[in-house]
């Protein structure tokens, strides 16, 4: 039994997260503050403190396939309040990227499409073109008329930049997008 407990492999998930984020979730002793303060804990399939525990006990699938890691808003309430100083929001952020790297299908497609449409627009122009971003996002989710009233309202109030803005350093930015790795180079596996 001692041999089993000391085997590296039962800590492999925790070690991976530590390697990628510098955060040691073994420190978590389940006080539950993260979950108590989380504005979206009620919407999650597993709560933030459960995520910490599941990483400790090597349950990769439960965590990496969860909606929780995608529903985290990165509002940093958990990080601010954790008595053990674990940057929980950073752990969630790391888990999202590991989940994509390992080929898990994100259960929250609207959120992943939102990120894609956002970054596509920034990659093309250097700045977010809000109109283009909203249209692409709505098309990707086949809901072309969603929020159209809001768009018209913005237009009427003179708050829609119809043509967007292009920065001069667009090719430089393109290079940054092309070469950027999911995790800092040397840390990725």
């Amino acid at each position: 039994l001692v041999y089993l407990l000391n085997r590296e492999s039962i800590h492999s998930f925790r070690n991976l997260i530590k390697h990628l984020s510098d955060e040691d979730v073994s420190r978590c002793y389940q006080c539950g503050k993260c979950t108590a303060g989380c504005p979206v804990a009620v919407d999650m399939d597993i709560s933030p403190n459960q995520v910490m525990r599941l990483v400790q006990i090597n349950h990769r699938d439960r965590v990496l396939g969860s909606s929780t890691i995608w529903l985290c808003l990165s509002c940093e309430t958990c990080t601010t309040r954790c008595p053990e100083g674990i940057d929980i929001a950073k752990v969630m952020d790391t888990l999202r990227k590991v989940s994509v790297a390992e080929g898990y299908r994100a259960p929250e497609r609207t959120i992943t499409e939102f990120n894609r449409a956002f970054l596509d627009s920034v990659e093309r122009h250097g700045r977010l073109n809000e109109l283009e971003f909203a249209l692409r996002y709505n098309l990707a989710l086949r809901q072309p008329f969603k929020d159209m009233a809001m768009g018209l309202n913005l237009l009427r109030k003179g708050k829609m930049n119809l043509f967007g803005e292009n920065i001069a350093g667009r090719s430089q930015l393109k290079g940054i997008f092309n070469r950027s790795k999911r995790f800092i180079k040397g840390r990725d596996r």
Partner: protein, 290 residues
Amino acid sequence: MRYGYYPGCALHGSAREFDLSIKECCQTLGIELVEVPDWNCCGASAAHEVSEELSLALPLRVLSQAEGYNMNTIMAPCAACYSRLKRAGIKVARDPAVVSRINELIGQEYKGGVAVKHLIEVLKENQTTLESTVVRPLEGLKVACYYGCLLVRPPEVADFDDAENPVTMDEIVRTLGAEPVGWSHKTECCGASFSFSKPDIAARLVGDILEAALQAEADVIAVACPLCHANLDMRQAAAARKLHKKYSIPILYISQLIGLAQGKDRRLLGLDKHVVSPDNALQSLKAPSR
């Protein structure tokens, strides 16, 4: 005082009135704002959810642009931009290996000499001047100051105020002659990043914040972030539908309140650009005493 100004994408679009009112009130305060040349998007949440390198390279290109033009401090009015820029700067200061990798990615060198401040941090430093520019005190106006998430969290990054009970905006509001109300939702997240992708969740969070402001009998909610503003102003109807209620609480930028107290014209401050009109809440304010 002179600052590099990083408006961020929203202030050139859906948050134009924030940009307008900042320029107006800073001019009166003698704060010179020089836009960071050829600035790019900070990457916001989308970048850090997808790629760690991208989430550092985008803000560091901004800091590097500023450094190239000898700007030693950047002022960012968006809480998300502020957080991303400042975090990237801290990461670089602590981790030299990261600097060389990111410099390689952006193809220009960032030496680490640019400080990042949020608008309200700059205003706090200029509070005495601010007081002297008030010509129309906002007497009788009850203001719920809403800070949200990244303006005060995490404390290692947003270090100019208390993470759980921030007071910077409350003090500014008091300086303007208005009354900041005590309330429960100063730092609760409004869910702005889900305004499109998870509208039901965003509506619930917005509803909670509006309810709390109503309970505190606030006339208006003051914000200092374009994302909080868009979500609280434009999603009020959705929040009301969810709770079978009606809301019409004006959401004003802190810079618009300052501009009003400085006696400026409402249109110059973009006060006609909100979904929820502030006209009723502001009608009892006195005319400028000058």
